[in-house]
């Protein structure tokens, strides 16, 4: 058993504004094994993107990592100085953002944007870097790679731009790639292509990938492990197969119930989760999901549930009453 490439422990990140402290991430822990694809799922505002920006230490000026550690290759990222961190970014840890329309600099050619990354981290001549950029473009299947180096971002379609972003992220053979909703801003038909490309490259290059998304369908297909986040915390985590087969947290169950299943021909309605996520400026004392949960008990609002073997829910407590479909599973 090889140790994890990234191990996040009790990460807490807050933003400070005139309104006061907004606790975006409240004690998140998870591991990423080498060459695995980990999915982080959650609604917007659940803290999934902030978690990853914290790992990269790229928070906005008013954001601060309050506590926790992120061991990458045995080094705590939060203890590195800014220079060491910069050497790591784009080199050992790379990132792809949600919107390829705005994530590429509109005034520089895409070639230049890839080449500058290579030159930043590798001792290569410009010509060698250019050669490498062409290889990368071919790797992510951008047609007529050599000619396209000279194009500007606005001359590409959304899907092609995301390929450029991927090429840029892969330019220094990162050990860990963070993909923050890489398909959300794309057309549905393109989404799948990009996802499959990511999966293929992940297996081929043997790197670890954190895939952040709010789309469970995306997760199910390509990831190995899943972390479900809500209200700045991990609600449930585990192996993708188990989690989909028997979700143990009412939130995960709610998420799954809200996903359409084309194979399902019973024509029952999708069930949305009522209500909206908690205000992180005033997070609730108990379970953040309690106000929206169909099974809320007195205990849920009184105290924060711990993780019971991967699910943060009081119903997983040994003394908890049995609730059909949650902790009392129908016989397999």
């Amino acid at each position: 058993m090889i140790g994890p490439i990234l191990s996040v422990r009790d990460l807490r990140t807050s933003f400070f504004s005139q309104r006061g402290e907004v606790q975006a991430v409240r004690g998140v822990s998870f591991d990423v094994a080498p060459a695995e694809m980990l999915g982080i799922v959650g609604e917007s505002g659940s803290g999934k993107s902030i978690t990853c920006m914290s790992i990269l230490r790229l928070l906005k000026a008013n954001g601060r990592i309050k506590s926790g550690e992120a061991l990458f290759d045995g080094r705590d990222l939060f203890k590195l100085d800014e220079d060491e961190m910069r050497d790591l970014r784009g080199n050992d840890i790379a990132v792809i953002f949600q919107d390829p329309m705005t994530s590429l600099n509109p005034t520089l050619t895409v070639g230049e944007q890839v080449i500058e990354t290579i030159l930043r981290h590798r001792r290569l001549t410009r010509a060698q870097a250019r050669q490498r950029a062409i290889e990368l473009f071919e790797l992510v299947r951008i047609p007529s790679a050599t000619a396209r180096l000279k194009s500007y971002p606005h001359e590409f379609s959304g899907g092609m731009r995301q390929r450029v972003m991927i090429a840029m992220a892969l330019s220094c053979d990162p050990k860990l790639l963070i993909a923050d909703e890489p398909t959300t801003a794309l057309d549905v038909t393109i989404q799948r292509q990009i996802l499959m490309l990511l999966k293929e490259l992940q297996t081929r290059l043997g790197m670890a990938v954190i895939l952040i998304t709010h789309d469970l369908g995306v997760i199910a297909e390509v990831t190995d492990h899943i972390v479900v986040m809500y209200g700045g915390m991990v609600m449930e985590q585990g192996n993708v197969r188990d989690l989909f087969a028997r979700p143990r947290h009412p939130y995960t169950q709610g998420l799954l119930a809200a996903v359409p299943d084309l194979r399902d021909d019973t024509h029952h309605r999708l069930t949305p989760i009522p209500g909206s996520p908690p205000d992180m400026a005033h997070p609730p004392e108990g379970c953040p999901f309690a106000p929206r949960c169909p099974h809320t008990m007195q205990q849920c609002v009184a105290a924060m549930p711990p993780l019971f073997d991967g699910a943060r829910c009081w119903l997983q407590h040994p003394e908890a009453p049995r609730v059909a479909g949650v902790n009392e599973l129908e016989p397999a």
């Binding site: 990269l56 790229l58 910069r86 784009g90 600099n105 509109p106 005034t107 930043r120 840029m168």
Partner: protein
Amino acid sequence: MATYVIQRLGLMLLTLFAIVTLTFFLMHAVPGGPFVSERMLAPEIEAALNAKFGLSDPIWLQYLHYLRGIAMFDLGPSFKYPGVSVNQMIADGLPVTLRLGLLAVICVIALGVPMGIVAALNRNKWPDTGVMLLATMGVAIPSYVIATVLLYVFALKLGWVPTFGLDDWRGYILPVLALAGFWISFVARLSRSSLLETFEQDYMTTARAKGLRPGQVLFKHGLRNSLIPVVTVLGPVVANLVTGSFVIEQIFALPGIGRHFVLSITNRDYTAIMGITIFYAALLMVMILIVDLLYLWLDPRIKLSRQSA
């Protein structure tokens, strides 16, 4: 690109034609103006005007004469000084005005942009507050007030620079500063807000996520994008610097076109007023065209949309 330039040149000629026409007929409306036959003038001027424009001809013919003159870059004789042509007056003042204007543009870019950068990088700290205070003053205080205060303090009281004339380089300091003051402030404010906006862009996060050094992030990714709005105002800046120089040349007694212009106004030297106005307009439009071409080169997105259009 070429079609764009040709289009722009065409529009420029059209505008210039409109200006010439407007100016001609405005001047014609002046009682005792240049193209009216009942006037008291020195006979040699009367003769020169007559030879040029045919004063007894109907107005449309005079207009055509004037247009023909413009087409051959001939602005006609002065209305007040015998034997002097408007072309000579312009040629006389142009070097001074151009030198002042050029220095002022350089000041605007070389001082305004760095001031904006310093302010944006130190947002809400003392350098920002200081720069913004100075810039707000620069925007609010009219240039002729700045000019006279500078003149009083540095030339009359402290005697560091000459009060008038351009005999040595120090003579340029005050006029250029007074001329550029407003626009330095304006550009400082603009580049600050533009930079702050750029800092919020996703591609800036990308640049940092690639591990680029702060210098690379700022200069390569930040500055170029945030300078685009600054370049777009450079056209009007040039225009305003040139018109602003009337007063500055007046206050510092500099022999530029602006001084000739103001003098022609007080002398009611109508042909000179017309000629200088038209010359100014043409000069400004050429400058604005140059600035627009610069803009085109800076922002590749424009190029495509213009070409395809």
